[in-house]
């Protein structure tokens, strides 16, 4: 995430992460590894009712850790609010590399 974050910030864009859970699990996991919410340097948003995950077409599509969770996905929205890039993963590790994200952000300039 950190690699991605610096690439994104360099390109003048903003990173938002969306988690299909209430924030309790994120806080618990941070606590477990000795971190606090202040250590998360990008907004981590709680999509507890899955309404945003559903809008972006990825809710309940991956069964991991026994629960029905989001298919991993990355989207890029330009300054006008238009969706310009969408990549929905085929496995939990299937994400665009920081290089790909940077390249796609460059295309928006």
């Amino acid at each position: 995430m950190r690699e991605r974050l610096s690439a994104i910030e360099q390109a003048g864009a903003r990173l938002l992460a969306i988690d299909p859970h209430e924030s309790w699990s994120a806080k618990f996991l941070l606590d477990e590894v000795g971190l606090s919410t202040a250590d998360v340097s990008y907004p981590l948003l709680a999509d507890a009712a899955d309404v945003v995950s559903a809008a972006y077409g990825i809710a309940f599509q991956m069964r991991i850790h026994t629960e029905w969770s989001n298919r991993p996905a990355t989207f890029i929205i330009d300054r006008d609010g238009t969706l310009r890039y969408a990549r929905r993963g085929r496995s939990f590790a299937d994400r665009p590399s920081p290089q790909v994200v940077l390249r796609e952000l460059e295309k928006l300039r």
Partner: protein
């Protein structure tokens, strides 16, 4: 002659009143159409296919993902929104489903009951958390208990930790204990009630990205539209422990 004209006018008036009522109803119902909880359960049951998953990974991180063109997830979203926004009406049918349904139905029941938290008796949830053969049912039942924000359940939850075999379910018992008396936020419930089914799978390249308003870790509400005219946004959807 006069009587016939009067009757015709009255029928026209009646007809236009009825038509007006119908059109008003469809204007107001941007949310999920009101159906019986039993109908939502049935529609979910016929469309959710528990077998259409592709496996990947191994050992601890064995996971399953839907084929890209699968649509079953939509039935889950519709059913959850319909059941949760029906509120109290859904509780009894869901509690019944929790003990008597097929495995996939019991999972849905536990999941929905979590959001309905305040209206739900803990007994059936505890029983499911303890005794259901499916780890997923136990997991969502544990979540549901946590979402009730009832500290008096902690003893029972701690006891579950001793007997639970699934590491994932144990993790969720941990979340339930950690949240203490913080029940599920009203805002979450409102999202279901206000949900417009037309937004389902509505993100399209080249079109306006669906806007949203969600809370960050520190409780601040962040909207996608906050960044319009200012910055491009990279939206990364995670699944919970990335």
């Amino acid at each position: 002659m006069l009587r016939r004209a009067f009757t015709r006018r009255r029928s026209l008036l009646l007809l236009s009143c009825v038509l007006l009522l119908f059109s008003c109803d469809s204007l107001l119902t941007a949310a999920e159409p009101r159906r019986d909880p039993a109908q939502w359960i049935k529609s979910f049951s016929t469309q959710w296919d528990d077998t259409a998953w592709n496996g990947f990974g191994s050992g601890r991180t064995k996971a399953y993902i839907r084929p890209m063109d699968d649509e079953g997830w939509k039935a889950r979203m519709h059913a959850l929104a319909g059941l949760v926004s029906a509120g109290q009406k859904s509780v009894e049918p869901l509690i019944d489903l929790l003990s008597h349904g097929k495995p996939a139905e019991r999972v849905l029941a536990a999941q929905a009951l979590g959001y309905l938290a305040a209206e739900v008796p803990s007994g059936p949830l505890l029983a499911a958390a303890q005794d259901d053969a499916e780890a997923a049912v136990r997991l969502y039942a544990v979540d549901a208990l946590g979402m009730q924000g009832n500290a008096s359940l902690h003893g029972s939850l701690e006891k579950l930790l001793e007997t639970e075999s699934s590491g994932d379910v144990k993790k969720h018992i941990g979340y339930a204990l950690a949240r203490g008396e913080h029940g599920v936020d009203r805002q979450v419930l409102e999202q279901f009630v206000r949900w417009n089914p037309k937004t389902l799978d509505s993100a399209r390249l080249g079109k306006q990205a669906p806007d949203f308003a969600l809370p960050s870790l520190d409780g601040e509400t962040i909207r996608l539209s906050d960044f319009r005219g200012k910055q491009a946004v990279v939206l990364v959807f995670i699944y919970g422990d990335t």
